[in-house]
C-alpha cells in the first residue's frame, strides 16, 4: 500500500530581488515519516521552511502541506501543523500549566479539551511535581520535552522541528528521539531542519540543500553508501565542497 504524501513541493522557488534563495526544489514527504531537511547556514533551508509553514508566499512553483496549497490556504496549514524551535519554545515566566493553557488556546482548543490534554501531557512526562513551577526554573532537557508536547497539543498532521536537540546532554537527547519515534509511529510526520549532522543520522530520509537547491535526497544509509563515507557529516562535507 502506498502511503499518502503530506508534503508535496514542485519547483518551489523564492527570490528576493536578484537573489534566488530557494531554486526550484521538488520533493515529497510521507505520512509518519521523519524527514531531515539539511543545509549549511545560508543554503536556503529557513526560507524554504517558511514557505512550507505558510508564512512566506512562493515566487514560483507550488507546494501543498497537509493537503492545502501554501499560496492560497496558508491559514489552514497553520492549523494543521506544529512548530518547535530551539530558540523560541515556551514562556519562562509562565508555569508549565499556564504554558499549556496558553498554547492550547492559541491552537484553538476548547477549555474542556485543554484540561484533558494538559493532564495527559503532565502525566506522560511525569511532571506532576513541577506543573505549577515556572518553566524558566526547569532544566533545558525538560523544557524541550514540554515544548515538543505542546507543539502536538492540537494533534497536527506534521510537526516542524528546528534544530531540536542542540546542546542537551546525550541521554536526554536520546529520550527526545524516542519521543520523536513514537510520534512518527502514531502517524504524525516529523520534519526536522538542522545543520547538526548527528541529528540527520536519526531521520528516515534526508535532503541536503546547497545554494538554494536540493543536491541530495535519500535515506542516511544510502547517502553514505553513495558517497562512500561513514557519517552524514562526511556526506555533507563532500557535497558542500563540490
Amino acid at each position: 500500500m502506498k502511503k499518502e504524501n503530506v508534503i508535496e513541493a514542485t519547483n518551489l522557488t523564492k527570490t528576493f530581488g536578484e537573489f534566488t534563495a530557494v531554486n526550484k526544489i521538488t520533493f515529497e514527504v510521507k505520512k509518519g515519516e521523519i524527514f531531515g531537511f539539511l543545509g549549511a547556514n545560508g543554503a536556503g533551508k529557513t526560507t524554504a521552511m517558511k514557505m512550507l509553514i505558510g508564512i512566506s508566499i512562493p515566487s514560483e512553483g507550488q507546494a501543498t502541506v497537509a493537503g492545502y496549497d501554501v499560496s492560497t490556504r496558508p491559514e489552514d496549514i497553520k492549523k494543521s501543523i506544529g512548530y518547535m524551535s530551539q530558540k523560541f519554545a515556551l514562556y519562562d515566566d509562565l508555569t508549565v500549566k499556564e504554558n499549556i493553557t496558553f498554547f492550547g488556546g492559541i491552537y484553538g482548543l476548547k477549555r474542556s479539551q485543554i484540561r484533558i490534554k494538559s493532564e495527559e501531557l503532565i502525566n506522560n512526562l511525569g511532571l506532576q511535581e513541577v506543573s505549577n513551577d515556572l518553566v524558566g526554573s526547569l532544566p533545558l532537557g525538560w523544557k524541550q520535552k514540554i515544548s515538543f508536547s505542546v507543539a502536538l497539543l492540537h494533534d497536527p498532521k506534521i510537526i516542524f522541528l528546528d534544530e531540536p536537540t542542540g546542546g542537551v546532554d546525550p541521554i536526554t537527547r536520546r529520550q527526545f528521539w524516542e519521543m520523536i519515534y513514537e510520534t512518527a509511529h502514531k502517524g504524525t510526520t516529523v520534519f526536522v531542519t538542522t545543520h547538526y549532522m548527528d541529528e540527520a543520522e536519526y531521520c528516515d530520509r534526508v535532503s541536503i540543500m546547497v545554494n538554494g537547491k536540493i543536491e541530495a535526497l535519500d535515506t542516511p544509509k544510502k547517502l553514505k553508501e553513495q558517497f562512500k563515507v561513514d557519517s552524514m557529516n562526511d556526506v555533507f562535507l563532500k557535497l558542500a565542497r563540490e
Binding site: 549549511a40 547556514n41 546525550p170 541521554i171 536520546r174 509511529h185 548527528d198 557529516n233 562535507l237 558542500a240
Partner: protein, 300 residues
C-alpha cells in the same frame, strides 16, 4: 603547567555550577572540555580568565594566580566567549585595530599569527562586524583573541551553531595555532569534536566525569557494544527496553546501541525474542564505542 585548576567550586544562589574541579593542561596542549549546556563550562572559563571569583579552590594560568595576578593573566590569554562579543558597529579592521591597541600592539606586529585566518575575512575589512555571516564573525573573533600573541587561548563553544564545513575549517585552524606553541582550552557540546583534542575532560552538572586522551577514555567502556537495527525503530527500542537482559539501550542514528548484562551475550536468543515481537530485517553486529557512549555510561 599552562593551566592548573585545584578544587574549584562555584555556586549561584541555589545552583552549584562547579563542584570541586581539578585538572591540569600542559604547555602547548589542545585540551577539550566536553559537556552539554549547563554543565559549567562557561563558569569555569570565566573563573580562569579572571572575570569571576571561585567560592573555593585555586587556579593558575600561565603560572599566574587567577586572583593575585589577574592583570598579568589578562595580558597573557586570549578569550573568545561563546556569545559574539565584538563591536557590531565597528568594521572588521576597526575591531582588530581596537583590540591590538588595547594590548599595546599593532596588527602588523603580530600579523604572522593571524594571517591564515585573517586573509579569509580581509576582503570584507570595511564591513561592519554586525553584518558578517556566522562563519566570518567567528574568524574575526578568533583574530581579535590572538592579536596580542597570547600564551593561552580560551575558546568557549566556538563551533556552536556553525555548519559542518565551517566547523571543520575551524578545527584545522586550531591545530595550526597549536603548532605555533599556543596552549588551547576549548569547550564544546559536540562529542565528535572530542577526538580532535589531545586530552579531554568530560563534564556534566558541574562535575568532571573523566579526564584522559580520547582513545584512553574510549577504552574505559566496560561492555561489548552492539549495533542493532530492524524494520521498525520505535518497536525495536520498546522491545529492547523490555528485554530482561538489557543493560543499556540508546538510539544512535540508524541503529540502537545495545549492551547486555551478561558477559556471554547470546545473539540468537535476542534475535528470536525480537522476532517473536514481530520485528523483521533484524541485524546485530558488534561495534566500537564512541566518546558519547562512554559519556552516557558515566552519566548513567
Amino acid at each position: 603547567m599552562s593551566i592548573s585548576v585545584q578544587h574549584i567550586s562555584k555556586s549561584f544562589d541555589k545552583v552549584t555550577a562547579l563542584k570541586d574541579i581539578s585538572f591540569k593542561v600542559k604547555e602547548g596542549e589542545l585540551f577539550g572540555l566536553i559537556g552539554p549546556d549547563g554543565a559549567g563550562k562557561t563558569t569555569l572559563f570565566r573563573v580562569l580568565t579572571t572575570l569571576l571569583f571561585a567560592d573555593e579552590g585555586t587556579a593558575t594560568v600561565a603560572d599566574f594566580d587567577v586572583v593575585e595576578d589577574y592583570k598579568s593573566i589578562r595580558n597573557s590569554v586570549g578569550y573568545m566567549p561563546g556569545k559574539f562579543s565584538l563591536y557590531q558597529d565597528l568594521t572588521v579592521e576597526e575591531n582588530l585595530t581596537f583590540f591590538a591597541t588595547i594590548f599595546g600592539t599593532t596588527i602588523e606586529e603580530n600579523y604572522d599569527l593571524i594571517k591564515e585566518i585573517y586573509v579569509q575575512i580581509e576582503p570584507f575589512k570595511d564591513r561592519r562586524a554586525g553584518d558578517l555571516s556566522g562563519g566570518m564573525k567567528q574568524k574575526l573573533a578568533l583574530s581579535c583573541a590572538l592579536i596580542h600573541k597570547p600564551k593561552v587561548l580560551f575558546l568557549d563553544e566556538p563551533t556552536t551553531g556553525v555548519d559542518p564545513v565551517s566547523r571543520k575549517e575551524f578545527w584545522e585552524m586550531l591545530k595550526r595555532l597549536q603548532k605555533k606553541g599556543i596552549t588551547i582550552l576549548v569547550s564544546t557540546p559536540y562529542m565528535d569534536e572530542a577526538a580532535l583534542c589531545d586530552r579531554i575532560a568530560l563534564i556534566q552538572d558541574g562535575e568532571i566525569l573523566e579526564i584522559d586522551t580520547p582513545n584512553d577514555i574510549i577504552k574505559t567502556f566496560p561492555k561489548k557494544l552492539y549495533n542493532i537495527s530492524a524494520n521498525n525503530m520505535y518497536q525495536l527500542i520498546k522491545n529492547l527496553n523490555a528485554y530482561k537482559h538489557q543493560y543499556s539501550v540508546y538510539p544512535f542514528g540508524e541503529f540502537v546501541h545495545y549492551t547486555d548484562q551478561r558477559n556471554d551475550f547470546k545473539k540468537e536468543e535476542l534475535i528470536n525474542y525480537l522476532k517473536e515481537n514481530n520485528l523483521k530485517n533484524i541485524t546485530i553486529t558488534e561495534t566500537a564505542p564512541t566518546i558519547e557512549d562512554v559519556f552516557m555510561e558515566l552519566a548513567k
